[in-house]
């Protein structure tokens, strides 16, 4: 049932507060899931200049591999093995695909990963079929963590938040505090010099690509049982992850985090607060006639705008701040 205006008029009442608290929690959760995907994508772009179009497909592979592994063992084994396996597939992709087209430039690399989307998405149908697979939340995490205003908050959601935050910390420490991270960052800006110092730059690129796709696989392991593991999951996630990465600034990990949270919160709020702009205007005493164009626009529900909002935000930020929220440089 559609909430009525009275909810809005009495903002601060428990009903409204419940809606806001749970929207914030779910928005954070969706945002952190987006970040798990976006971090790998932005790392790969930042290090190699390759925009991995098939990133969401590796995410889907992560979910499906976790389903298969957990059906033979359990979720915890899958949590470790599935990202490793997806990362291994990523390494193969880099070694035998991307490295060969590298000489043709970044557009050729983008085209290759674009073709991989078709191949991986169809292979998933080929192996696991068209209908969703039964990849369930592990029983040990399938309980209610707390209940607020009569609505329960499952423990698995908290676990997703925990893993995502731990992942962000680990990546940050790896890149900034360790010798490996230093070499990776150096290989990005001065590949010839790093090569001259005796490091195998192509192998570093393979490792970075494997690491990034492995992170996408981890996101798939976490999200596959929270949402549904089905062949369309890559297609529904792919474009939005690109929005996050562009919005946050290509190559910026912090930007990806901020953009993930902003977009996660914005879309969740737009869906949960089912008001149209006309309702808002009416609430402050401005009536709008639905017959004219402006009135027609204002009468569209926020939840319908919600799907479009991230893309609109991306286009707007590209107009007014082309390098994104925290991007170091343009393009």
């Amino acid at each position: 049932m559609r909430p009525t205006l009275s909810h809005f008029a009495v903002a601060g009442s428990p009903v409204m507060l419940e809606s806001i608290v749970f929207s914030v929690l779910n928005g954070l959760l969706y945002g952190m899931l987006l970040f798990m995907l976006a971090s790998g994508l932005t790392l790969i772009f930042g290090m190699m200049g390759v925009l991995n179009f098939a990133h969401a497909s590796f995410y889907m592979l992560g979910a499906y591999c976790a389903y298969t592994i957990s059906s033979y063992t359990n979720f915890w084994v899958a949590l470790i093995l599935a990202p490793l396996f997806v990362g291994f597939l990523g390494a193969l992709t880099e070694r035998f695909g991307l490295r060969n087209v590298h000489k043709h430039g970044h557009v050729a690399e983008l085209l290759l990963t674009f073709g991989l989307v078709y191949v991986i998405d169809e292979l998933v149908v080929l192996i696991w079929g068209q209908i969703p697979v039964n990849y369930a939340i592990p029983p040990s995490l399938d309980f209610t963590l707390f209940t607020l205003f009569g609505t329960s908050f499952p423990a698995y959601r908290a676990f997703i938040l925990f893993v995502a935050i731990a992942m962000f910390g680990a990546i940050y420490l790896l890149l900034v505090r360790t010798r490996v991270g230093m070499i990776i960052r150096a290989a990005l800006s001065h590949p010839e010099m790093v090569g001259a110092l005796g490091h195998d730059v192509p192998r570093i690129f393979t490792l970075v690509f494997a690491f990034g796709t492995g992170l996408a696989g981890l996101a798939g392991v976490m999200a596959g049982n929270y949402y549904i593991t089905e062949p369309g999951m890559a297609f529904s996630m792919g474009p939005i992850v690109f929005v996050v990465v562009v919005f946050g600034g290509l190559g910026s990990l912090g930007g990806a985090l901020a953009a993930s949270l902003i977009i996660g919160l914005v879309t969740t709020f737009a869906v949960s607060l089912n008001y149209s702009i006309a309702d808002l205007l009416a609430a402050v005493g401005l009536g709008l006639d639905g017959a004219n164009i402006a009135g027609g626009l204002a009468h569209i529900d926020l939840s319908r705008i919600g799907q479009m909002l991230p893309y609109l935000m991306m286009v707007l930020i590209l107009i007014f701040r082309p390098r994104g929220l925290m991007g170091a440089r343009e393009s």
Partner: protein
């Protein structure tokens, strides 16, 4: 004297090629008379225009777009709304010129979105087009009056307002309408490549920095090229709307944008006629393959990945690479080595097809053990032996291709050496 003569021969040659193109379009329905093939050839015409308009971006100006269906689809929606207006007798406009409505719609949105996206080049441009494409596709939920919601917009192309007196009810009349527009649009796009704009676009593609030094504004060149490309995509969309009499939101979406990228690249972006080959081939394979294989998208994907890696010039590029040896009379030295590769290649393809089809049989079929018809044989997908034979064929085929590819490379090296020695143009 000799210069004007040679340019006149070149002109005659061009006119001849285009006349042949038009003649083929006129004659084809007399050879392939079934209604399904006329429908397929009509689709080919639509996608030839669409792919050529896409190549104005990717091939001629180096702009990789993931959202070109926006202009195609919006053009189609505009055309269909115009047709509905004529249906309702609130507007008089001949059906023959209806694609122009789509073209103007595509141009208008090309100008709007182009002014945002063409400020950037390369990968960022690609991202912006993806964002705009997703934005327009998801906005279909909001503007249900225009996009018609889930069921889309439909109209009746028989409007009784025509220039030449045809009703355009029978599909053969629509075929010739599409054919006429295909020739006109293709010639127009070809002539555009010969204008200063076309040349500047090539310069912007090859070396934007140098083009800027010479004094050209690369952003404006990209912008004009992008808007015009939107115009032609809109024409293609208008014809699509006339043909199917229905437009739905996915027509502006990412899947359609991906399809045009696929067919343009497979055909070849480096030469003007490449996308024509791609549109014809992909439309044919789509119609032919999707009938009896679940895996046609997978085959397309593999073909695309293969071409990105080994034949970035597409089919047209492969053909064009043989022009110089042919002129030098050395083609006969290459052909035997091709036959040598062909055998293991066919084996590898057969093995791959068998593996894929058996895989689909296992995962999708109601009864996986029911035999599949493949290569005039009955194959049981649940038998281990079928898998072993198929995988063995695939492995042997790949090994054979790798081995014989060396012979081809050696022959090519020899041909190139001979051509250099005789000073033939490469």
């Amino acid at each position: 004297m000799s210069h004007s003569q040679s340019s006149r021969t070149a002109l005659l040659w061009h006119i001849g090629v285009w006349a042949l193109f038009a003649l083929v379009i006129v004659v084809l329905p007399y050879i392939f008379t079934s209604s399904s093939s006329i429908s397929m050839m009509s689709q080919m015409g639509v996608f030839i225009i669409f792919a050529l308009s896409y190549n104005m971006l990717l091939g001629q100006a180096g702009m990789l777009s993931f959202g070109h269906a926006v202009y195609f689809g919006l053009g189609g929606f505009f055309t269909l709304h115009a047709i509905r207006a004529v249906n309702d007798e609130v507007w008089q406009f001949p059906l023959e010129l209806m694609p122009l409505v789509g073209g103007v719609g595509g141009l208008a949105f090309g100008i709007i979105f182009g002014s945002i996206s063409t400020r950037r080049a390369g990968v960022t441009f690609a991202m912006i087009t993806l964002g705009i494409g997703s934005m327009v596709e998801s906005s279909a939920n909001m503007f249900t009056d225009f996009f018609g919601g889930e069921s889309g917009i439909s109209g009746n192309r028989v409007t009784d307002v025509t220039l030449f007196g045809f009703s355009y009810g029978p599909s053969i009349e629509v075929y010739y309408l599409i054919g006429a527009w295909t020739v006109m649009a293709a010639v127009a796009m070809y002539l555009l490549t010969k204008t200063p704009l076309g040349r500047i676009s090539n310069a912007v593609r090859d070396n934007p920095e140098r083009a800027q030094f010479v004094g050209y504004n690369t952003t404006i060149a990209r912008f004009i090229q992008f808007s015009l490309s939107g115009f032609f995509a809109g024409i293609a969309g208008g014809l699509f709307a006339i043909m199917f009499e229905i437009m739905t939101a996915p027509n502006v979406g990412l899947v359609q944008s991906g399809a045009v990228l696929l067919m343009t690249f497979i055909g070849g972006v480096g030469l003007f006629f490449g996308p024509i080959i791609g549109a014809v081939l992909v439309t044919y394979m789509h119609t032919a393959l999707s009938g009896f294989s679940e895996g046609w998208i997978l085959y397309f994907g593999l073909m695309f990945v293969f071409m990105v890696m080994y034949a970035p010039g597409g089919i047209a590029g492969v053909i064009y690479a043989h022009a110089a040896p042919w002129r030098a009379g050395l083609l006969w030295r290459l052909l035997p080595s091709y036959l040598l590769v062909l055998l293991p290649a066919l084996l590898a393809i057969a093995g791959l097809v068998a593996v894929v089809e058996m895989g689909y049989q296992l995962s999708l079929a109601y009864d996986p053990s029911s035999p599949i018809d493949l290569f005039y044989m009955q194959i049981n997908a649940t038998s281990l032996w079928s898998w072993l034979v198929a995988l063995l064929g695939l492995a042997v085929g790949i090994a054979g291709v790798l081995a014989t590819a060396r012979v081809v490379r050696a022959r090519w090296a020899g041909v190139n050496r001979s051509m250099q020695a005789t000073g033939a143009k490469t």
